[in-house]
């Protein structure tokens, strides 16, 4: 396939993906807004119980939330504002959502990024050791370690990292690592078990060459797809880790927003988390497509 054709088809695929992403993100935001609106006690505001507030102040508080009663009008207003860069004001924290997100994203990006990197390094080194070492002990060690971490709730790992004074990204790495290990180990074992790899070994090809020329082309695309999925897993893990380790990131913000039923913040977070997850998955998908087409 010529490069021009590949580029054209990739652009087409990308455009289709982006349309689907936009639709899903908008639907996700609407779903979140509807859920919050339908939640029991949505109309009540604890501040109204403050005896020092006059009836005018209570009325003003009620009026400030009046625009949120109709979920569709709220969502339309939100979208209109979002286009102009105004994401609303958080009820619970009393700050513009845009400021909150700008302050908190770097923390999450750092914690999730380092955590993911560590998880991939740990999982791949164990998976390669198990597949290349070809000794039952390596495999048992990998399965036992990943199995043990798979059985521990993410929040417990976060608590343990607090008790042991370990960094938050380590907890994220240990939450994500077993999922990567199990999948990548299966992929590598399957690839190394292919007859042409046995033949290549018999002909004396070096392990590095076998890996680069025969194993990675088989297992690589699925590993890239897995990389997209692990972003979503790590983002989910960031909620208990940041909430319990006291890290002021998006995960902690999501937890606070959920507890205080902060509609503007929840809608923005849902939109943002959906967007990041879908972009990561679609990015991986497009990369896999390009690799597959490039080869053919």
């Amino acid at each position: 396939m010529s490069w021009k054709l590949l580029l054209w088809r990739t652009t087409q695929r990308l455009a289709r993906k982006l349309t689907v992403i936009a639709a899903l993100v908008l639907l996700g935001g609407l779903l979140s807004a509807t859920l919050v609106r339908m939640a029991p006690g949505f109309d009540s505001d604890e501040r109204e119980l403050d005896p020092s507030l006059s009836s005018q102040s209570v009325n003003a508080l009620r009026l400030s939330r009046a625009g949120e009663h109709n979920v569709f009008s709220f969502y339309m207003n939100y979208l209109r504002g979002a286009i102009h860069g105004d994401l609303g004001i958080s009820h619970a924290l009393g700050q513009p959502v845009k400021t909150l997100l700008r302050e908190r994203w770097p923390v999450t990006v750092r914690v999730v990024g380092v955590g993911l990197l560590l998880a991939w390094l740990l999982a791949l080194s164990l998976a390669f050791t198990a597949c290349l070492g070809r000794r039952p002990a390596y495999e048992i060690f990998g399965i036992t370690t990943s199995g043990a971490f798979l059985c521990i709730p993410a929040a417990v790992l976060a608590l343990l990292s607090v008790i042991l004074d370990a960094p938050g990204y380590l907890a994220i790495a240990l939450i994500v690592f077993p999922k990567i290990y199990r999948y990548s180990h299966n992929l590598l074992a399957k690839a190394y078990g292919l007859p042409h790899i046995t033949a290549a070994r018999a002909r004396g090809l070096s392990e590095t060459r076998i890996l680069a020329c025969h194993v990675l082309p088989v297992a690589g695309p699925q590993m890239i797809a897995l990389a997209g999925i692990t972003v979503s897993i790590a983002l989910g893990a960031a909620i208990p880790v940041e909430a319990l380790c006291g890290l002021p990131g998006i995960g902690q913000l999501a937890w606070q927003a959920a507890l205080s039923r902060d509609l503007p913040l929840l809608v923005n977070l849902t939109v943002m988390v959906t967007l990041v997850t879908l972009l990561a998955n679609s990015g991986a998908d497009v990369m896999v497509y390009m690799l597959a087409r490039g080869e053919s």
Binding site: V20, A23, L24, L27, G28, L31, S32, L35, V36, M38, A39, P40, G41, G147, A148, L150, C151, I152, P153, A154, A155, V156, L159, L160, I163, S232, I233, L235, G236, A237, I239, P240, A243, L244, A254, W255, A258, L259, R261, L266, L269, T270, V273, T274, T277, L278, N281
Partner: protein, 268 residues
């Protein structure tokens, strides 16, 4: 069944039996306070000591295990039934319905599971009776956990739609719900069983996560989530290692569930 799976099965059965016999093994109950002995170390009277308000920890572990092990399968049943309805029907109907169901499952799957769970749980009343909190927690797990299973089931049902026996049944005049109930659904049984068993450990872990974050089962009812929350006050493992018993029990049960699920089931 190999030896390891047999052992895992025995472990799960023993834990289930012990939690079912909680009334006899720990007659004091999960809520009774021994006010003279708060934070007591293990003794003959209190095998795992007492918590900070003087409740017997052994009793709480047994009752908490009972709640988690009873309700996680119930939630798995709800989610599998929903998945069969949405995924199975969409796969069977195909075309527009299949695309719609896939878009809907994509939407659910695009949100991290814990984020979705925390958001929806927090939107429901938190100051409710303990029993209501148990029902809310596990009902949410069941109602939100169907998407991944639905995706698998829609693919399986889609593959079945053009199979020979379905075409023959159609040619014989069988259509609509009868065809779905008589021919499609029974053939989805292996996938449904697999999805049901896979969901149980996922829901046990999810409840534990919610409990630790303060959004799970309300006090004084114990669950693995609320028991693990006690770890928050732990300063060092050496000082009070018995406080780790709920975590160890959870790991043992979860490992057993993992061993019980064969590779084929996980793949399905």
């Amino acid at each position: 069944m190999n030896q390891v799976r047999k052992l895992a099965c025995v472990v799960v059965l023993v834990v289930c039996a012990m939690s079912a016999a909680a009334n006899w093994l720990a007659p004091a109950g999960y809520a009774k306070q021994f006010r003279e002995a708060p934070d007591a170390p293990p003794s003959r009277q209190h095998l795992l000591g007492t918590d900070e308000v003087g409740r017997d920890r052994f009793a709480r572990v047994l009752y908490g295990t009972r709640i988690s092990l009873l309700l996680a399968p119930a939630a798995a049943l709800v989610s599998t039934a929903l998945a069969a309805l949405v995924g199975g029907l969409a796969g069977y109907l195909g075309g527009f319905w299949l695309r719609l169901a896939r878009a809907f499952t994509d939407l659910f799957l695009s949100l991290p599971w814990l984020f979705l769970l925390i958001t929806v749980r927090a939107l429901l009343p938190l100051n409710v009776s303990p029993l209501t909190s148990v029902l809310i927690t596990f009902l949410i797990l069941g109602l939100l956990g169907w998407a991944a299973s639905a995706r698998v089931l829609s693919t399986s049902a889609d593959a079945l739609r053009d199979s020979d026996f379905i075409l023959q049944a159609r040619a014989s005049g069988l259509h609509g719900p009868r065809l779905f109930l008589i021919h499609v659904l029974p053939n989805l049984k292996p996938v449904l069983y697999a999805q049901f068993w896979i969901s149980i450990p996922v829901f046990i872990l999810s409840e534990a996560n919610l409990g630790i974050l303060g959004l799970g089962v309300a006090e004084p009812l114990p669950s693995w989530g609320s028991l693990l929350r006690e770890l928050e006050g732990l300063i060092s493992f050496r000082e009070e290692p018995w406080r780790l018993v709920p975590l160890l029990l959870l790991i043992v049960v979860m490992t057993s569930f993992q061993l019980l699920l064969s590779n084929e089931e996980v793949t399905a």
